[in-house]
Symmetry: C2
Subunit: 414 residues, 2 copies
């Protein structure tokens, strides 16, 4: 086929960087710790990973990660490797073992972070990508323009199915577009999935019958595969329009199988993202990883939000959101929708819109909606008015003069 997979890393090494790059390329393809007669030049030319680029950034006197192999200086570089697709085929699980397998454990490595991934067209031929993406989500949610204004059921766990439905009733009465379960709430005995879906969908369907607008509810069906399938079927049968799964809980095969089965958009939660990303010298940027999840079928992908309550910096949030809105590859866009949440209010609308240049996203606010002195309807109105202002280039203060709910919201958002 002649196609190659390209992965780019931030690398820190106490070795000569060129030698470290070769060790990594070897470990992840035909090489090993000792020279083998069977690794012939022909075999290496055919199956070896290739060092495509190695650019030194800077150096450090101390290693970012512990290693038994001490050095006097540690060099940071950008390292791009490539692999022939003939090594693995267009297989996402084996891709993970290839680009993100043993290499993180090498002694020569005192820092390694996957920062970019370029996949050849075979992967788009082998994997379907999101079934709904932006257009399908907008159609099902009945939101043609602007962000989906959303929220998360709180408390995360502890409400009964009926209490959850009551909260949904208030949110829908307030005009919300999108509601999601918390990632902790799947099918616990305190709030069984089936009871919750039936209770919530009664409320959703009643409102849709009255108003013609059906709020999208992402029911968290995370679990074993047979249960995920049954839960999906229940949501579908009850007229639901979205299911949610925790990516790092179900894994790639879980998402792939859900995509294969699902007739609804898949809201992909990345709970656990911190352990994959929180050390700057280890793990993953979101941009390369989200390509894999999108190929596997994620329609919506969480990216935190600007000035969020977690530790992720704004630059990382925006880079993540841009990556979700960018094509997976030139020949296959596979559009998906970024989901902004955590400490969000209308105050982030202008900056978010300015950074992305578009509003194909879900903006989920909790306290920013519930905290409004005139309740949920005014909270939703204020958040929507903020986005309208952002998209029309109107300053927020000016918009607040026209929209009392926004003026009131600005009092407690700040």
């Amino acid at each position: 086929m002649g196609e190659r997979i390209h992965a780019t890393y931030w690398l820190e090494t106490g070795d000569d960087p060129a030698r470290a790059a070769e060790v990594i390329a070897g470990e992840q393809s035909s090489g090993t710790f000792v020279a083998l007669a069977t690794e012939t030049p022909e075999l290496k030319a055919r199956a070896g990973a290739r060092v495509e680029r190695l650019e030194v950034i800077d150096t450090s006197r101390t290693p970012s990660l512990p290693t038994p192999k001490q050095a006097s200086v540690y060099t940071r570089c950008v390292l791009e490797l490539s692999w022939p697709i003939e090594n693995l085929g267009a297989c996402l699980p084996t891709l993970m073992a290839t680009i993100a397998g043993n290499l993180y454990e090498l002694r020569a490595v005192t820092g390694l972070r996957l920062i970019d991934l370029q996949l050849p067209p075979s992967f788009a031929a082998a994997y379907p990508g999101p079934a709904f993406g932006i257009a399908g989500t907008r159609r099902l949610a009945g939101v043609a323009h602007g962000p989906l204004i959303g929220t998360i059921i709180k408390p995360s766990v502890g409400l009964s199915a009926d209490e959850t439905a009551e909260q949904v009733r208030a949110l829908i009465a307030g005009g919300i577009d999108f509601i999601k379960d918390d990632e902790l709430q799947a099918d616990g005995p305190n709030c069984p999935f089936e009871n919750r879906v039936r209770a919530v969908m009664r409320v959703v369907n009643d409102a849709a019958d009255r108003t013609g607008k059906k709020a999208m509810v992402a029911f968290n069906l995370t679990g074993d595969l047979d249960k995920m399938r049954r839960r999906h079927d229940l949501v579908l049968a009850q007229g639901g329009t979205c299911v949610m799964a925790c990516l790092n809980s179900v894994g790639l095969v879980g998402l792939l199988e859900l995509r294969r089965h699902s007739q609804l958009p898949i809201h992909a939660h990345r709970a656990g993202w911190g352990y994959l990303s929180r050390s700057p010298a280890l793990g993953f940027d979101f941009a390369p990883l989200q390509k894999i999840w999108r190929l596997a079928g994620a329609d919506h992908l969480h990216v935190n939000g600007l000035r969020n309550k977690f530790s992720e910096p704004d630059a990382s949030v925006i880079a993540a959101a841009r990556s979700v809105l960018a094509p997976v590859m030139a020949s296959a866009e596979l559009p998906a929708m970024p989901v902004f949440s955590s400490g969000q209010t209308g105050l982030q609308a202008h900056d978010t819109y300015a950074a992305l240049g578009r509003a194909d996203l879900i903006h989920a606010a909790g306290g920013g909606i519930f905290g409004h002195p005139r309740g949920v309807p005014a909270g939703v109105e204020a958040l929507r008015a903020s986005w309208q202002a952002a998209m029309e280039g109107i300053p927020l203060a000016q918009q607040a003069q026209r929209v009392p709910a926004l003026a009131e919201a600005l009092e407690f958002w700040r």
Copy 2:
């Protein structure tokens, strides 16, 4: 049910540790960033995570992980939390979101590592655990006592199916017990799974017909679920006795479904373990994680090896191996077999045996076998003789006087 799940963390925080502990407990159960009227005392008592233990270890002037919330001092503690099983039920995927979800991203957290996990009996009732474990593996491999002497096909990728079978022929002629594919080698066009299995199993079956002993070959079937099932069925039909999957590539649902389908032991590779563990202030110890993989069905679990070629320290290797040999819980042992590899020779046999007190393990050596001047049979003999000495309390040098292959091996192992 009254059962609770207990997870213990190494925590570093710039906050007051007691407050940080409550924030973490809240984020992972009924709390959120703002106080909610709906989080009633009754709800919190029912669904809230509980701080069971908080012990300060030491302090640091600098945070281990970056945070926007600076402090003058960062306190390291052991934090034990517990959750009522009613929150989630006995569901491994939601367990992951609960014990290893958003909490890693909290601002108050500048270091967080899961170091222990105690699960209630419901999990053992809901999940089958390894189908073969130690006893089943010994039976299928025809090794009643001592370690399975093993190796890994090298080069990892690049050999054709027939070349792989030729390597297997030499290994089996040399008396090897166990052979595994590399984690990079699954079903690439260069060495298709079906061709490889058919070619290798011809060799394995021929030898078994002649000698009565069938070497166990762990074929790496990692991939999409339908393909993993078909590959498993092929291995089974060809008389194979083991399949291998990369845990972090297929995820929990992948392993659970493989376990549900498989009639063979599952050799679980942990490629990617580095990104989950390499920062001491982030991620996971292996002990808690391997409980989840064992409940999900892993029969063999990789643990590196003493004085390995990677960066993992010996203490971590032994802790991991001991955890695999320890019961998952008092009421459900779910025995599995640790797999030692990376830079292994007979030189590690005594220390490994001394640390574990038993030899229910797979000891995989590459160069330590292939490098023997008299070839694979002498390499296997030397490794086996080392273990025999270790188990019988005979010094290696003394054993070498009785076993010429070992005496020769000692020349190149050192």
